[in-house]
Every structure is written in structure tokens, then in C-alpha cells.
Symmetry: C2
Subunit: 436 residues, 2 copies
Amino acid sequence: MVAPLNVGLIGFGNIGTGVLRALATNGALITPRVPHPIQIKRIADLDTTTPRNAPYEPGILTNDVDALLNDPEINVVLELTGTMDFARELIDRALKAKKHVVTANKALLAVHGMDLMRTAVDNKVCLLFEAAVGGGIPLIRTLHQGLAANDIQAIRGIINGTANYILTEMTERQLDFNIALEQAQKLGYAEPDPTFDVEGHDTAHKLAILASLCFNQDIRFEDVAREGITRVTAVDIAFAAELGYTIKLLGIAKRHPDDSVEARVHPTLLPSDSRLASVNGVFNAVRIDGNLTGPVILSGRGAGPDPTASAILSDLMVLASAKAEGGLRREMRLSVATGRKKVRPMDDLLTAYCIRFGMMDRPGAMAQILRALGEHNVSVASIKQPFRQQHQESFAHVLVVTHEAKESDLRASLKNIETLEVNRAEPFVMYIEEMD
Amino acid sequence: MVAPLNVGLIGFGNIGTGVLRALATNGALITPRVPHPIQIKRIADLDTTTPRNAPYEPGILTNDVDALLNDPEINVVLELTGTMDFARELIDRALKAKKHVVTANKALLAVHGMDLMRTAVDNKVCLLFEAAVGGGIPLIRTLHQGLAANDIQAIRGIINGTANYILTEMTERQLDFNIALEQAQKLGYAEPDPTFDVEGHDTAHKLAILASLCFNQDIRFEDVAREGITRVTAVDIAFAAELGYTIKLLGIAKRHPDDSVEARVHPTLLPSDSRLASVNGVFNAVRIDGNLTGPVILSGRGAGPDPTASAILSDLMVLASAKAEGGLRREMRLSVATGRKKVRPMDDLLTAYCIRFGMMDRPGAMAQILRALGEHNVSVASIKQPFRQQHQESFAHVLVVTHEAKESDLRASLKNIETLEVNRAEPFVMYIEEMD
């Protein structure tokens, strides 16, 4: 009998349960595809009593994480705790004990990923994380292998299903943000505290991981400029649609000729006939522009126990093959560029904007705002005053689309505008991303 | 100095030249990503004199393919001859000489792929072919690795850029097939003899490869039912659009509960808001439905020297890593199911159809056709008589959409219809594929 790949699972929640269920469902098909069968040998979780909707030997569940980490027969630690410091320590210990690690912990990877990868390399083991970005879409492996010969110039993605569901509902049914959010919460697509998703943290975590792999730089969460979707209104969406754009929460990372990397997450106006604009609901999609391939787009379900289990099992299958090959399987291109990075300041960004102003509704008010923009070289492409607040006759929203301008110029002009008497609300800036 | 991965290139045409150019352009980026540098050591081609648009040492170009195959220092043979029997013999000899083989030869693989894979396994070397399907889209590796834990239920794709370009032009600009074809030929998207692309051979080749990998069966070109796009008219497209459908040349392969596989290529009506319907021009896209992931869609440029070079180089990079690991890298799931297959007869297909009849334009003619359909349990969902041939007053085209029916019933009814006096042309059958 062939020795199994022994997996120690830490964190027996929704995803861990999904992995066990998927192994039970697809095991007969997975086993002949790998040289060593995949076996969950131990499971550690604080909660050892709540029944889980998955088959497992009760004896393998323990609350003693040390017993799992110290078990010399465990080849792989599967970290699914959803924690930060605790997970970091676990993974660090596992790698130093020469165990491979598989994790879906994007928040951890976006902050400490490079350090952990360095530890993995030093200990000649693998740290794999296909499930960290894009759920069931095999994004990480595509970057490491399928597109490995390319100089990747840009990566742009809709990588948070919650935000995309909310924006899709707002767009298709003219809902306000709060109504769409409530609906997402009722359907289980949004957490009771939705901050993480709707403020763009999750997208920024994933973008940091993708950008560091694409550009071989140590891009972390803190390097990603970020604005969430909470201020987007149905009016913004309708105005964008009139101009031929669709609003998405987009993660954008690009490398410039001087090797600097821009990385940003914000409400973005995409041409409505562009390939990413039609990605709706909880679907994720990522567009990667390689210098040989041109645009390659991958899309699918970005979350949920089954898609995530698919990604985790693909990592475990790689490790089962590696075991047969006598140890470490060198994944091409695993970036370990600890410390090496050149983040492009947002001030240097050159792009077109869509800005919503809230101002006094009186003659000359708009002129003052346009003058302030013009004084900082921000030239205007179109203007729209979509409606008047009925209960507040002296107040008007105005949407302004600019030509390309430097972010520093835009911000300087906005600073001036905020001192104007006619300005009555913090201007809301969205970004325009031209693409096909 | 680390020993290189020595590649012997056979066939120095458009694609081979593209590979050399890509290596020159991206070499500085590829080399640190692999443990052994990739070196084109020898090139064999009958034409050793025509200048190529790529940098290479003139001394490595030879017309002596045996010298290349017999060179013990060559680790990998890159077969880009575009031939059938000759390529088969080359690959067979290379594998038996314990050389890995990389090829983009889909026509060969669709006919002899399983036999060659068996030879590769027997000789403990790899046969890789990422470039055979989908150009720069890393489809093969995604099936082998990223989605390896899934029970794949269906694969559906737009995998011929020429046919898709022609149908897109016909759709967007109301062109007839011949005009769109001429245009494609002028732009270099279609060959002077376009049969291979427009009659669906190329799509069927690629579908056979994908189906055999997805379903681990020995599905070959001859097992794929096939109908090209030459009979599609602008009127069909307009009628489909009215009903909410877009016509694409789709390759469809599905596994049924009894493990039988249906594999077919034909003009297909897709819902216009479905994910594949908006894939236009020379772009390819494939939708893979895994039981864990749900639908995963990959799209990008399906042809051209640069995207193809990207795929070939990713195979060579895998082999460079394999070399570091001491030989064979076991790609998960390389199907070698020689001889094992269960092809579902087209007669058993259950689907909805869109059929164009050409009949005498006289009272009762349509009734006769509907009666013949009804007699074979083919029930009609809608009927449209789009126009009368002006020069031929007694002749009318009629488009009929059916509910789901068995292909054998449809064919029996069409046989009857062809004996009717009112029938004046061979009915043209398109297929409806409902999907999101």
C-alpha cells in the first residue's frame, strides 16, 4: 500500500468541513490522479463537540494543536483558522518543522506572506495558497505556471463577491447601497459587519497577493490605496450608465517602465462593453495582461465551501505529487522578494475621474468648482446635474467626468474646492478605467 | 554554471520563430524563474535559407532532423512541423529516445494523442501540449492541476478564432457568410482554404483533446459530431437575436450519469446574456463546469505566434523544473485511457433545435412540415418566416424553434420532410444550448 499524504487540519469551520465533504464526494476520482492518497489524519479545533456536516473519524478531532504540529507523520498542515497572529505562529512553526503548509488565509498572506514564503524556502518546504484568491478559479497556479513566460503588465480584477453582488443589485434594480447590503446580508452573501468586504479590505488583501506574484515585489496590504463602495449611490450608477460605464469595485495593479507598481482598489467606471463589466453577482473575474498572451481572463465563483475546497485540494494534490518526486516540488515563480518593492505613490497616478460634488444650487456655483479644477490642470469632459434633493432646495449633486489628470493635481483642486462656500459635501471620487 | 534544458526545435515556421523571439524578449525574466535555463540547441527545417524574424545562431539550423533526434544532449524535442504522419513518427522516435516532447499539433493529438501519451509514460518522459488548445489561455494545465479535484460535468467552448471572427462580423454588421469570410481572409484571420476552420475540424480536434482530459476517456476526432458554419446566414443570426440568442460555433462535451460522453461541434444558439455569448472576434473562451467549482471560464487570444509561444514556453519551464527534480515531473491527471471510451450516439441527444426550412410558399405547406415534426414527437416552440426570396416568389424560408426533442426523432422527421413536395431545400439544423 502506498503511504498517504498525511494532512493535519487546523480550524474546523465552514471551509474545513467543505474540504472533508469534497474529499468524501470526489475521493474516488482524486485518488487515481495522485501518487499518494490524501488523508486527513488529525483535525485541531477549539470546538470539538458541535456536529459537522462532513464524514470523519471522531477520534481524529482534538483541541490540542501542539499534538498535531508535533506529529512527525503529518506531512502537510492545512491552516483554516481565519486568524492573524495565531495563524502566523502556526504556519511558522509548521514550516520550521519541515511540514508543507496550505492556507486560504489571504489577510495573513497580504501582510506576512513574503516572510512566510522565505521561511518555507529556507526549510525546503512549500507554502501553497490557491484558495486565498478567487475561490475555485485557479488563479495562483495560472500566474505561477501557465503565464510564467510572460512579462505581466497589469492585473485587474473583481475579486470580492459581496461587493460585486451589492453593486450588481444596485445597477440592475436601481437600489440604494443600504437596501442592497441588507439583501446581501439576508442571503448570507454579506457578514453582519460588512466592513471588510464593502470597504475594500478583502479586495486589497487579494490584490496585494496577486501583485506580489505578478511583479515579483514585496507588495503588502499597506501598499494598496483603498476606497470602498459605501458612498456609491444609485444615481452615480445611473449617470455612469448614461456615459456607457458600469461601476465595479476593481482591484488594479500595474507595473510602470521604471519598475514601480501602482496598486489600488476603488469604485471604478469600466466601459459597459468591456469584458469585466458583465461579470455580475457573486462571480469573480481577473484580467491578466501578459506581454505575450495579451489579455487573459479567468472567472468563476470566488467564495463558498465547495469552490474553496476545490482550490485547497488542488494544492494538496500538488503536494502528493511532490511527495512522489522525493520532496519539494519547486513551483515556478514563487516570489520571495522580501523587502524588494517600489510602490508608485497615488499622487503620481494619471487617470480620468468621475467626481460627485454636493454644492449650493445657485448661479455660478458650478463655475467656481470648474475654475478650481482648471487651476490645477484638471480638465472636464462632461458634467451632469442628475437631480435636486427635494427636501433641501438649495443643495445639488453634480457629477463631473474629467480627462486624464494627475492624482496630486486632482487632490490639490479638491482641497481648494472644500474651502469654497458653495461646496457642501465631501467630493466623492471614482476612477475611470478604459479597457476592452 | 547550471546545465541548460536543451531544446531541439523541429519546424521553423511562424510559431517556431515566435518562440525564439519570445525567448529573446522575455529571457531575462524567464531564466530566474526556472532552475535550468532554456536553450534552443538545434533547429531542423527543410528550409534553411529564408531569413527568419528572430535571433538565432545560424549554425544551429539544419535540414537534418536525424542529427537533432540523435543528439544525446537534446532533452526536449519541440515539434512544430504542422504535419501528421511525419510529426507522429518524429514524436514517437523522440519519446523512445527518452526525450520529452512539447507540441502544438492539435490535429495529431486529436487522432493519435492517447497512443503517444502511452509511449511517453512507458518511456518515463513527458508529452506536453499546452499550446494545442486555446493559444495563450492556460487551459490544459488548468484541467490537469487547478481543477484536478473536480468531477467535470461539461466543457463548452469557443475555440476557433476564425469561425468566431466570421460569426461576430456577421452578427454585428449583418454580413453574409461569404463577405465575412473574405474579410477574415484579407486580415489574415482565415486561410485561403478555410475549410479546416469554418467546417469545424479545428474545433473538433481541440474538443477531442479537452474531452479526453476532462473525462479520462480516449475521445478522438472521429468521435466528435461536427457541422460547420458555412450554411449560417445573416437571417438566421437576426432571427436568433430576436429570440434572445447569439449564434456561435460551440464545441460541447458532456458526461452523462452512465459515464457516456457526448461530444459535438456545431452552430449553436446561446442565450445572448450568457457568459460565452459576449466572447467576440478572434477571442476564445472555454467554460468548464466542475462539481466543486461550478462554472469556471477562461478566455483570451486563441492563436497567434506570441500567445502560442507563451504556452510553449510554459511547457518548457515545467520541464526545466522537472529536470531539477531529477527527471519526470508527473503532471496530475495526464489521461492515458487508451481505448477506454463510451461515446454517446448523437441519436440519443436530447436538446432544443433551431431549424431553417426552405419550402414552397403556398397555403398548407407549413402545416405539412409541422405535422411531420409532430408525428415524430418534435414539438414546436416558435415559428418565423423572415422573408421571401424576391426572385423566386414561390419559395420561402421558415425558421422553427423546437422544444427539447431526441435527435433520432428530429432526424426521422426531417427524412420525412425531405420527401414532401413542399420541401425545397435541405433543412439546416442548429442547436440551442441553454446556459447562464
